[in-house]
């Protein structure tokens, strides 16, 4: 079986051919679905845990601390220990909650990142589904998450949860617009909604460099809106602990709380991965014009490392926001979106369309 870290399509084809030799076409599809699902679940669980560790370390370094150091070398096993603790905790259900919705909410919240992650290309040939409407699919699916948050707050029979959920609803629904519009801006430049095409388009240069000023504006808007989408500081007012104790997930404990927690971090990854894919060239290496030697060296680094390197850079940026800025107030958050980001975005799309029509991009 030929395996190359530069191109995963040989690996996936080999698996497909191997299965096809033994099973009926329907069986092949079924087994492949199960395989893909398993890989994604394991990836999300491990990556979520790692991100929690990373956040704690990053935050500690911002605050003159060391962060977790006791469990395992440099505290590497700390989050795993925490997760096991959460798994073993009692599930407390407050009185007079809406039982069905209360139990359903964490699952809705956790399902969304699974759906979204399936269209993200990690490296060449390493993408679960490659729709021709990939970007549309991402924006459509990621808005489902807010239903989970709203249900959690609504069904908890807790006033703090309700306020948190309402805040979160207003915030996420508003910022969906900005995310969608900034993605559309890039889709105009790429001329396609298919994620693999968008990445392939960037082999000659990342979109943030190719698309002139509109791409840079779209990137900034996307970062702001993405931070707001994931309910992270300075937009973390759905769970603003100094105001609402823990916001919409106040009443959840044990594994259900872990679902909310994990979903937050996987969403963080998805926002970073989307920023990477749409603006920073996906898994494409960094090339500079005609510096052949430099470009060869860059090509030598496998695409999967490029992808995760960029993702971590964006994640670090978002963490940096959280640990530096104070929180906004609900009316300020909505003002920022409706009075500033949205008009900027609309003008930006026109600008980008104009540039593409005139062929001024690189």
């Amino acid at each position: 079986m030929a395996f190359s870290i530069y191109d995963f399509s040989t690996l996936t084809r080999a698996i497909h051919d191997g299965l096809a030799a033994h099973l009926s076409p329907l069986g092949v599809t079924a087994v492949e679905w199960v395989l893909v699902g398993l890989v994604l679940i394991i990836f999300i669980a491990l990556f979520g845990l790692f991100l929690v560790y990373a956040e704690r370390k990053v935050c500690a370094f911002f605050q003159n601390r060391l962060g977790p150091m006791r469990v395992g070398p440099w505290g590497l096993l700390q989050t795993i220990a925490d997760f096991i603790k959460l798994l073993m905790k009692e599930l407390i259900q407050p009185k007079r909650v809406d039982k069905f919705l209360y139990n359903l909410a964490p699952f809705i919240v956790i399902i969304v990142p699974f759906l979204t992650i399936s269209v993200i290309p990690f490296a060449k040939g390493l993408q679960a589904f490659d729709f021709d409407i990939g970007i549309f699919f991402i924006t459509a699916v990621s808005s489902v998450g807010v239903i989970g948050v709203l249900l959690a707050g609504w069904s908890s029979n807790n006033k703090y949860s309700l306020i948190g959920a309402m805040r979160s609803g207003a915030q996420i629904v508003s910022y969906e617009l900005s995310i969608g519009l900034s993605l559309i801006t890039m889709a105009v430049l790429a001329g396609s909604l298919q994620v693999s095409t968008i990445v392939a388009e960037q082999s000659t240069g990342w979109f943030i460099f190719k698309g002139h000023i509109p791409a840079v504006i779209a990137f900034i808007v996307f970062l702001i809106a993405g931070t707001a989408e994931t309910n992270r500081g300075p937009f973390d007012l759905a769970e603003a602990e100094s105001e609402l104790t823990a916001g919409f997930h106040t009443e959840y404990s044990g594994i259900k709380f872990a679902f909310f927690f994990l979903a937050e971090y996987v969403n963080l990854f998805i926002i970073a991965a989307l920023a990477t894919t749409m603006f920073l060239g996906g898994w494409m290496p960094f090339h500079v014009g005609h510096l052949e030697g430099f470009n060869r060296v860059m090509d030598f680094i496998p695409p999967i490392f490029w992808f995760f390197g960029k993702v971590f850079a964006v994640i670090f940026l978002i963490m940096w926001f959280k640990w530096t800025f104070p929180r906004l107030r609900i009316d300020q958050i909505l003002t920022l979106e409706w009075k500033y980001l949205l008009p900027v975005n609309l003008v930006n799309i026109l600008l980008m369309t104009f540039i593409v029509m005139e062929g001024w991009h690189f």
Binding site: Q63, N64, K159, Y160, P234, L237, T245, P326, R327, Q332
Partner: protein, 370 residues
Amino acid sequence: MAEPDKIKTEEFLINMGPQHPSTHGVLRLLVTLQGEVVRNVEPHIGYIHSGIEKMCEALGYHQIVHLTDRMDYLSAHMNNEAVCLCVENALGVEVPDRVKYIRTIFSELQRLASHELWWCVMGMDMGALTTFFYGLRDREKILDIFEETCGARMTLNYSVPGGVMFDIHPNFRKRVKDFIKYFRKKLPEYDQLLTGNVIFQERTKGIGLLSLEDAIAYGVTGPSGRASGFACDVRKHHPYSAYPFVQFNEALDTAGDTFARYRVRITEMWESMSVIEQLIDNIPEGDYAVKMKGVIKLPEGEYYQRVETARGELGVMIVSDGKKNPYRVKFRSPGFSNLSALNHITKGWKIADLVAIMSTLDLVIPDIDR
């Protein structure tokens, strides 16, 4: 489908506290909300009432001092000093200059420590969690200085009627000077991290206005009152200890909003440092205490002494009937009066503003409940 005019809106009653991250202690606020807007705030106090005033009636004057640490634990030294000054004035004891200098330096260090902690907590209430560790880092250094001289970090018990309990540690001068040098570099960092931040300014400017008339009417003193233009600094207007010997400016502002209250405290930190610098090299030689009787008996009468703590004006009223225990002791705590203005200044603002306003009032709950 409900018709639009049939949709009923209701006011929402929530209990903030006694266990809540932003009440910093066991204060309970009964908040009436309309959506996000605060309509009414009703503070319920007494969850940590410890009967200090009543206990004082059963104790001697040496012992009362130790109880006062536990009221406003962030201004422990100022509380001690207030009682000591009151007793000394009643007896007509003149303490040596050395004692006055030491007490004033301690007061100002304590004020710095208290304002540093206030700054960390303010940032944390606003959602900027990193401020907490910046402030605590610097506060630790002050507490180390305290520990070296008097063995305690929070409840100092350093001041006693007639002087201070021990002489200052030989390292004291050097360490205080080192700290001032260090903190002069670090205080601008506070401004860089929080004061200049656009989000922070948007959140605080023009929010929670307290007019001068209201500040006086509610008896809001300390930095919170001075932010409304109420010149109420006891150190300046009724100087005690070594304050007559030093030059400093009363930090005043006229805006009366959350940001003004914030700025006044930052200015006070600069002023405190300058006060300490003026005193630290000139501590006169001499005794660190005058000899007092083992059992102090105040002559019959009423005695009042006020000092400026980190939160405002602390008054100590002692009524004596000539016995070894006071007949009645009353503390006028700054936190109690400052809290009384809370409902007035938060009405009509949002929950997030309520939290911000509450942190600029800098409430310490045991100080309110006593």
